[in-house]
C-alpha cells in the first residue's frame, strides 16, 4: 500500500457494517475526513452515531467494510492499537476521568505510562493544556470536585496530551447543564480553529452549523443526507432529515 500523504483523507470510512447480535447498527456507512476538517454527525438516538466513533478507534470491531486512519486499516487483526490510539483522541459523554487522580495527573498519565515520555516535558505540556482549557487553577482538584463542564474540559486536555491527529467527540455536551455546555463548546471551537481534525457526534445544531465543515445525518444505520452546513440546514430534502430538524430546531 502506498504511504499516506496529507492530500489524502486523514480518515476514510467505506461500507462499514456493524451488528450487535441480531441488530444491525451500521449498514454500510462511508465518508471521508480531510486533515483540518470538522465533521459533525447528527441524527436521532440509536441511529449508530456513537458506534461510528467507537469503531474508528477500535473500541468496537467492525463486521465488514474498511476504516482507514492515515491510510492504516483499523479493521486489521494485526493492527497496533496503541499506534492507532496515539493518533486518535476520544472524548466521551460522561467524561470518564480517572477519579483517583488530580486533574493535572489525569492529563499526564497516558503520556507517562503509555508513551513513557519524559516527566518534566509531560508536566510542562500538561500545564499548557490545563491553561488552554482555562483550568490552570484547578490542576490539583480531583474530578469529583469539579463541575461537569470542568471535568469535560480536563477530559479534552487529557486526550490532547497524546498529541492526536484526530479528535472524536461523542456527545460531549449531552450530560452537561445548559450553562456549562458553552464553556466546552468554546474549547472545541478553539481546537477546530487551530486546525485540529475533529469528528463530532452532537445534538448542538447551532454549534454544528457554525463550526462544522460538513454535516452528516444518520438514521437507522445509514447516512441519509450530508453536505456543508449552510446547504444542509437550508436544503435538506429527505423527509427523515426534515422531520428530525423540525423536531430539534
Amino acid at each position: 500500500m502506498a504511504a499516506w500523504t496529507p492530500d489524502q483523507p486523514l480518515l476514510r470510512l467505506a461500507d462499514v457494517h456493524k451488528s450487535f447480535g441480531a441488530v444491525e447498527v451500521l449498514k454500510g456507512v462511508g465518508f471521508d475526513v480531510m486533515k483540518g476538517e470538522v465533521v459533525c454527525i447528527i441524527g436521532p438516538s440509536g441511529s449508530g452515531k456513537s458506534t461510528i466513533l467507537r469503531c474508528i478507534n477500535a473500541l468496537v470491531p467492525i463486521d465488514r467494510g474498511s476504516i482507514l486512519v492515515e491510510g492504516q486499516e483499523v479493521n486489521d487483526p494485526r493492527l497496533d492499537k496503541l499506534a492507532l490510539r496515539r493518533k486518535v483522541g476520544m472524548v466521551f459523554q460522561q467524561y470518564n476521568l480517572f477519579p483517583h487522580k488530580t486533574a493535572l495527573q489525569n492529563v499526564m498519565m497516558a503520556p507517562l505510562q503509555v508513551l513513557k515520555q519524559d516527566k518534566a516535558e509531560v508536566e510542562a505540556r500538561a500545564h499548557r493544556l490545563m491553561a488552554k482549557v482555562r483550568l490552570q487553577d484547578k490542576e490539583q482538584s480531583y474530578p469529583g470536585e469539579l463541575s461537569g463542564g470542568q471535568q469535560q474540559r480536563v477530559a479534552i486536555a487529557r486526550s490532547l496530551a497524546m498529541n492526536p491527529e484526530l479528535m472524536l467527540f461523542d456527545e460531549v455536551t449531552a450530560a452537561l447543564d445548559p450553562e456549562t455546555v458553552k464553556e466546552v463548546l468554546v474549547t472545541i471551537r478553539e481546537l477546530a480553529e487551530e486546525g485540529m481534525t475533529c469528528v463530532l457526534v452532537t445534538h448542538e445544531m447551532g454549534f454544528a452549523r457554525e463550526v462544522g465543515d460538513h454535516i452528516y445525518f444518520t438514521d437507522r444505520g445509514v447516512i441519509v443526507e450530508h453536505g456543508p452546513p449552510k446547504e444542509f440546514f437550508a436544503r435538506a430534502s429527505d423527509p427523515r432529515t426534515r422531520q428530525f430538524l423540525d423536531q430539534i430546531l
Partner: protein
C-alpha cells in the same frame, strides 16, 4: 523491670494467679518467640494472600476460557474447604509425597518445614477469598472508565495496574479488612502442625504450669491487640487513599 516481673511472682504466691510468662524467664522467652512467630506468619500470609488476590483477579478477567476455569477451580478448592483440612492436606498429604533431603548433619529432612507449609496453606486459603474480594472491586469500576484508558492507548495490563486496581482496591478495602482480620485469627490453626506460634506456646506453657485460665485470658487479649493493630493500619490506609469528591 526485674521488680515488675517479681511482682507477678508475688501475685502468684498471694492470689494463685499464675502468669509464668511474666515472672519466669524461660516461659517469657518462649512466649515472646511465639508472639513473633505469629506476627511473622501474619505479615507473610497477608502479603502473599494479597498478591494471590491481585493476580488471581487479573487472571479471572482473562479472555482465555481455561485460565478463568483454573482460577474458578482454585477458588472452589480453597474457599470451600476448611482451613484446618487444608493445612493437614499440605503438611501430611503433600508433605509426605515430597522427597526428603539431607540436612547439614546428613539426616534426611522434609523439603519444606511446618512453618513454610503453614504459610503456603494459609496464604492460599486467604488468597482465594481475596480473589473474590478484588473481583467485586474490579466489577464495580465502571466499564466506561476502563474504556477511556483503552482509548488513551492503555493495554489491558496497564489499564489494570494504573486505573482498575487503584479504584478496585479502594472499593473493596472494607471487605479486604475483614478477610485479613480473619487471616490473622486463622494463623492459630498452624498449631495443628506444631508451628510454635502463640497458641502452641501457650499450650506448652499450661501443660507445664497448669495455668490454663490465665493463658487463655492472655491469648484472648493478645489477639485483641494483634487484630487491633491490623485494623488500625488498614484504617490508616483507608484514610490515606481517600479521594476527595467521590464516595471512595
Amino acid at each position: 523491670m526485674a521488680a515488675f516481673f517479681d511482682w507477678f511472682r508475688w501475685l502468684y504466691e498471694a492470689t494463685g494467679i499464675n502468669l509464668t510468662i511474666l515472672y519466669d524467664a524461660f516461659d517469657r522467652q518462649r512466649m515472646v518467640a511465639g508472639f513473633w512467630t505469629t506476627v511473622w506468619l501474619c505479615l507473610v500470609c497477608i502479603a502473599l494472600s494479597v498478591v494471590i488476590g491481585v493476580v488471581g483477579a487479573w487472571l479471572q478477567g482473562s479472555s482465555l476460557k481455561w485460565t478463568r476455569r483454573a482460577v474458578q477451580g482454585f477458588i472452589a478448592l480453597f474457599r470451600d474447604t476448611p482451613p484446618l483440612v487444608q493445612i493437614y492436606f499440605f503438611y501430611f498429604g503433600l508433605g509426605a509425597l515430597l522427597p526428603r533431603v539431607p540436612n547439614a548433619y546428613g539426616i534426611p529432612e522434609p523439603v519444606l518445614t511446618n512453618v513454610q507449609w503453614a504459610i503456603i496453606s494459609l496464604s492460599l486459603f486467604a488468597g482465594a477469598f481475596n480473589i473474590e474480594i478484588f473481583r467485586s472491586g474490579i466489577e464495580a469500576v465502571p466499564r466506561a472508565t476502563v474504556e477511556a484508558a483503552e482509548a488513551l492507548g492503555y493495554s489491558r495490563l496497564r489499564a489494570y495496574v494504573h486505573v482498575v486496581l487503584p479504584l478496585a482496591f479502594r472499593i473493596c478495602l472494607p471487605a479486604l479488612n475483614n478477610n485479613l482480620v480473619n487471616l490473622v485469627k486463622t494463623t492459630t490453626l498452624a498449631y495443628a502442625i506444631a508451628v510454635p506460634e502463640m497458641l502452641y506456646v501457650a499450650k506448652q506453657i499450661w501443660s507445664d504450669a497448669t495455668n490454663v485460665p490465665e493463658m487463655m485470658v492472655f491469648l484472648l487479649l493478645a489477639y485483641v491487640f494483634l487484630v487491633g493493630c491490623v485494623v488500625w493500619v488498614m484504617g490508616r490506609i483507608e484514610r490515606r487513599l481517600k479521594v476527595p469528591g467521590i464516595g471512595l
